[in-house]
């Protein structure tokens, strides 16, 4: 059936041309000529920009054989695809064959004799030919370079391929054949986003997209299908981080391809955070968050994670069940009775024993002799806790001790002084006390 169709197609062309010759008043030969491409007959075949090899050699018999010389009729030398595959077998030998080639004659796309376009295609360009079936790029705002310039065959072979989508190479190799520097440099980065290694089309539409960089969607929606755990945290947490959930959220902090640091971060964590928190901001719930920079600027003593520029030491950057996006429990109210659970955040780096051990000479330097003054402070009905004495980010006093504590509308100064073997304070909350690790101070007995 298919063979007949092809046969009819080629025969049709021949008959038309033969008819054309009659119409021009040229007597058609009644015996088989050596070649048909003569000045009198089929000269036009050889006059176009691109001529099929056998035509340029005048070797019509490569494809045609005589049916009836007297009637000047010819038939294809071989049936169906065999006609072209006799020479162009390699074009159809691969696993996946282009639909038009599998179903229809080669002449659907190619002129068998000559043409004005390379590869004797019927259209002026490859893109125009492909567009007859494929609406690639339609309504796309951002087009891939080869699509934009109409060079479909940069990525796809027109006839057959062992790869899906008739790709000319494995997908990753294909992308890296143009993005060659990206490939070279990916090998130099320790932390490479998994899709960047071999699955570019996981994130990018290879033809084009409504989004810049031909992304299939805007972040964070683009990222969520793989990072479902982050999606859950980002969208369902009690306290959400707008920087994650807003448009392009993930890309504020993460680079999509590779980085020298883990989590493919774009910069050191604190630098990323202060790109927003250098000024007061308002949470999604409308609560104000003070500018971080003001809290640390010029301060003499920094909390460890601040000194290490690692905000993620205490904050869950994607979302949290705890206020201020804290990673674990930490009381929101300044005065809260102490319990280890309420300060789980602090105890994720500092041992609970630090405050639960009454006598120690190892755990802390805040002791009078071996009396652990952390223990003394927290084991009271009134909430004297971590935050009562330590500023969370930074202060001017050693060990980031607070300058003052709030008490109603007052701010009571702590006036902490550190010495070689101890220290002391003259706070508003109790009488002045000193402590010494080597020569313990004597404290009045409480009733």
């Amino acid at each position: 059936m298919k063979g007949e169709r092809r046969h009819r197609g080629v025969l049709g062309v021949m008959l038309v041309l033969a008819g054309g010759a009659v119409a021009l008043g040229v007597d058609k030969p009644t015996s088989a000529p050596k070649t048909c491409v003569t000045a009198e007959c089929h000269a036009d075949y050889a006059k176009r920009a691109f001529v099929h090899g056998p035509v340029s050699l005048g070797d019509c018999k490569s494809c045609h054989e005589e049916a009836d010389a007297a009637a000047h009729t010819y038939r294809p030398a071989r049936q169906g695809n065999d006609l072209c595959e006799y020479c162009h077998l390699d074009q159809t030998a691969k696993k996946n064959v282009h639909e038009p080639l599998r179903k229809g004659p080669c002449t659907d796309c190619h002129d068998p004799h000559s043409g004005d376009s390379k590869a004797l295609i019927h259209e002026k360009t490859v893109a125009q030919l492909c567009a007859k079936c494929h609406e690639t790029g339609k309504d796309m705002r951002f087009l891939h370079g080869p699509v934009a310039v109409g060079e479909c065959t940069i990525c796809h072979t027109s006839h057959s391929s062992d790869r899906e989508k008739l790709l000319v190479d494995e997908p990753a190799n294909l992308c890296f054949s143009c993005h060659v520097v990206t490939k070279d440099e990916l090998s130099q980065f320790e932390f490479v986003h998994e899709p960047a290694k071999n699955d570019c089309i996981g994130c990018h539409n290879p033809h084009g997209a409504a989004n810049a960089q031909m992304l299939k969607a805007d972040a964070p929606e683009l990222c969520y299908p793989c990072h479902e755990d982050i999606k859950k945290v980002a969208e369902t947490s009690r306290h959400r981080h707008v920087a994650v959930t807003e448009k392009d959220g993930c890309l504020h902090c993460h680079t999509p391809h590779a980085s020298t640091v883990q989590f493919v971060l774009k910069d050191a964590p604190m630098s990323l955070c202060v790109s927003c928190h250098d000024k007061p901001v308002t949470t999604e719930e409308g609560k104000p968050v003070a500018a971080f920079t003001e809290q640390v600027q010029g301060k003499k003593s920094l909390h460890g994670p601040v000194a290490q520029k690692d905000c993620a030491g205490c904050h869950a950057t994607h979302g949290s069940e705890h206020f201020r996006l804290l990673a674990k429990d930490y009381p929101q109210l300044f005065y809260a009775p102490f319990s280890p659970d309420k300060y789980a955040l602090c105890f994720s780096c500092h041992p609970e024993s630090l405050v639960l051990t009454e006598r120690t000479s190892e755990l802390t330097d805040f002791r009078n002799g071996d009396l652990n003054l952390h223990y003394v402070h927290v084991n009271k009905q009134r909430g004297r806790t971590c935050r009562s004495c330590h500023a969370t980010h930074a202060s001017d006093l050693p060990k980031h001790i607070r300058d003052s504590v709030p008490y109603g509308v007052w701010n009571l100064p702590i006036q902490f002084l550190k010495s070689e073997t101890g220290g002391g304070c003259r706070p508003g909350c109790h009488q002045p006390f000193t402590y010494d690790r080597q020569s313990p101070a004597t404290y009045p007995t409480r009733r």
């Binding site: 370079g145 080869p146 310039v149 060079e151 065959t153 940069i154 054949s177 143009c178 993005h179 520097v181 990206t182 440099e185 130099q188 320790e190 960047a196 960089q213 680079t255 391809h257 980085s259 020298t260 883990q262 989590f263 971060l265 774009k266 910069d267 050191a268 964590p269 604190m270 630098s271 790109s275 250098d278 920079t293 640390v296 600027q297 010029g298 003499k300 003593s301 920094l302 460890g304 601040v306 000194a307 290490q308 520029k309 690692d310 993620a312 030491g313 994720s348 780096c349 500092h350 041992p351 609970e352 024993s353 120690t360 000479s361 190892e362 755990l363 330097d365 930074a394 060990k399 980031h400």
Partner: protein
């Protein structure tokens, strides 16, 4: 060398904070009782199986120790990372002790659950009574300490931040005699392909692919677009000149390449042989030969110039002279052409 590596450029607020922090790093080294440069105190710890580790040992060895606690953040992830890192370093040099110390309650339970392979890769010794913790004056877990063969503390870092492991690795390598800058190991760089340079490289590559497929006009169009965006780019103009020659657009090639203000001898030579190529195709063989002679003076190693000169001679019918040039060109590519026999085939 083209590069798309981008040092993360700090924003103004980031610089501001960095400056603010630089002046106040009192707590940055992470130990209460010891500091960088101090002698590491002696210590003895035994693992749950009774094996004893003593420091210092008889021979001079580097020590990398990470103080952990059972309830710390991301303990499993950190230990898994250290189990990969420590054997790698030990392969490089056996004169290294890389181990963990788990202080406080919960240590024995955690350590009891480790499999033998993990224990061997990165041994962790219990410090249930905080004696090691107290000896060093550790404040928070994890804290990493690197000690040199002179028993002096070289580096301390507390907190499992983004650069904890990379920093520990780099500092150990440095103390073990590595030449890499440990600062570079924790410097944040990203692969950015949205820079002008990256975009330009992609279009050049696309043009080259088009050229390989014989789609000269399309390749030329790509390069023309780039040249319009950056009229002074030498490499683009030269690339375009070659494509135009291949497309037979000799006048255009000459017009493009003759404007090039090349800085290097290699680029000047390339400009000259492209002009010569165009001239040869325009049958101006004398001009082509003259240009190629100039080009050879600038770049005697270029097989492309020798090949082009051979083409000029061949066009003139001087086959022997052409063969000499071709052989010289092949010798540049394959070494001694007569040895390889390539030029004789």
């Amino acid at each position: 060398m083209l590069t798309h590596r981008q040092r993360a450029l700090p924003s103004y607020p980031a610089l501001f904070v960095a400056a603010a922090l630089a002046s106040s790093l009192s707590g940055a080294d992470g130990l209460r009782r010891l500091h960088v440069g101090d002698l590491m105190p002696e210590f003895t710890l035994s693992d749950p199986n009774g094996s004893v580790f003593r420091y210092p040992q008889e021979s001079a060895r580097v020590l990398g120790v990470v103080v952990l606690q059972a309830k710390q953040n991301h303990l499993d992830r950190l230990v898994a990372d250290l189990e990969v890192l420590a054997p790698t370093l030990k392969v490089q040099t056996p004169a290294l002790d890389c181990l963990g110390v788990m202080s406080g309650p919960g240590a024995r339970e955690f350590l009891g659950g480790r499999d033998p392979g993990a224990r061997e890769a990165f041994p962790i010794l219990p410090d249930s009574e905080f004696s090691f913790w107290g000896k060093l004056g550790v404040i928070a877990a994890p804290t990493a300490v690197v000690v040199g063969t002179d028993h002096r503390i070289q580096w301390v870092k507390a907190g499992y931040g983004y650069d904890f492991l990379a920093g520990f690795h780099a500092q150990l390598e440095k103390v073990l005699g590595g030449e890499k800058d440990p600062g570079a190991a924790v410097r944040v760089e990203t692969l950015g392909n949205d820079s002008d340079r990256a975009r330009r490289d992609r279009h050049i590559q696309l043009a080259r692919t088009l050229a390989k497929k014989g789609r000269w006009e399309s390749a030329a169009q790509e390069l023309e677009k780039l040249r319009q965006a950056d009229p002074n780019a030498v490499d683009i103009a030269l690339e375009l000149g070659e494509v135009l020659c291949r497309a037979g657009r000799n006048e255009a090639a000459l017009e493009t390449v003759s404007r090039v203000q090349a800085a290097s001898n290699q680029d000047r030579a390339r400009a000259l042989w492209i002009c010569a190529w165009a001239r040869r195709q325009m049958a101006d063989l004398a001009a082509a030969e003259s240009l190629l002679t100039q080009a050879l003076e600038l770049d005697r190693q270029s097989p492309r110039i020798l090949y082009e000169l051979g083409k000029v001679h061949q066009t003139r019918g001087a086959t022997d002279r052409a063969l000499v040039c071709y052989r010289q060109a092949l010798a540049q590519v394959f070494g001694d052409a007569d040895v390889t026999g390539v030029s004789q085939k």
